[in-house]
Symmetry: C2
Subunit: 111 residues, 2 copies
């Protein structure tokens, strides 16, 4: 279930959501609706090139390495972060289109 699957979804306020559409959107929102994952996103986004090595992400969020790895996996699986392995290190980078797509689904267009 990736953010990209929402591209075919109507806007939230456009028409009544069918059950499957609602579940798809909720699944993506659930990934973002966690303080640790929000902090990871913002930390990565704040780095030059919007990318960061995992080894630099454990300390700032104050969680164990397996937990951070777990969160990064969820963010990657849902298409919010890109993953690139360089030798022993793994770099995660932000996919801004994902957040922007989510924002556009939520927006009412009346602003």
């Amino acid at each position: 279930m990736a953010v990209a699957d929402l591209e075919t979804c109507p806007t939230l306020v456009e028409a009544p959501l069918a059950e499957a559409e609602a579940e798809a959107l909720a699944a993506t929102l659930r990934v973002i609706a966690d303080p640790a994952r929000l902090r990871l996103i913002s930390f990565i986004a704040a780095q030059p090139g919007s990318e960061a090595c995992v080894c630099n992400l454990t300390a700032p969020v104050g969680l164990s390495q397996p937990t951070v790895s777990h969160h990064l996996k969820l963010l990657h699986d849902s298409g919010i972060l890109d993953r690139e392995q360089r030798g022993r290190w793994v770099h995660y980078s932000l996919r801004p289109e994902a957040l922007d797509l989510l924002a556009s689904v939520l927006s009412t267009g009346s602003a």
Copy 2:
């Protein structure tokens, strides 16, 4: 914890989120990250005047009356829906600014 409290928050990609800021944003996102609540929002938004009586909301989502009432309370407490009682009936209406504010916090501005 209402959406309006996010007005002082930086954008998600603007700067690293502090723990309290991340928790505040996550709390609001959690309210939206549920299929039943997403459907309620979209059903209400699709009505003329973006408002609906509770009695018209139970059937479409296929949940019990107490459960629907519970979801509406969460949506109201977080500032996404307005509540107005008219006699025996209660009407909930959408506050578009709330969704738009959320959308603007998520947006990277690079779109």
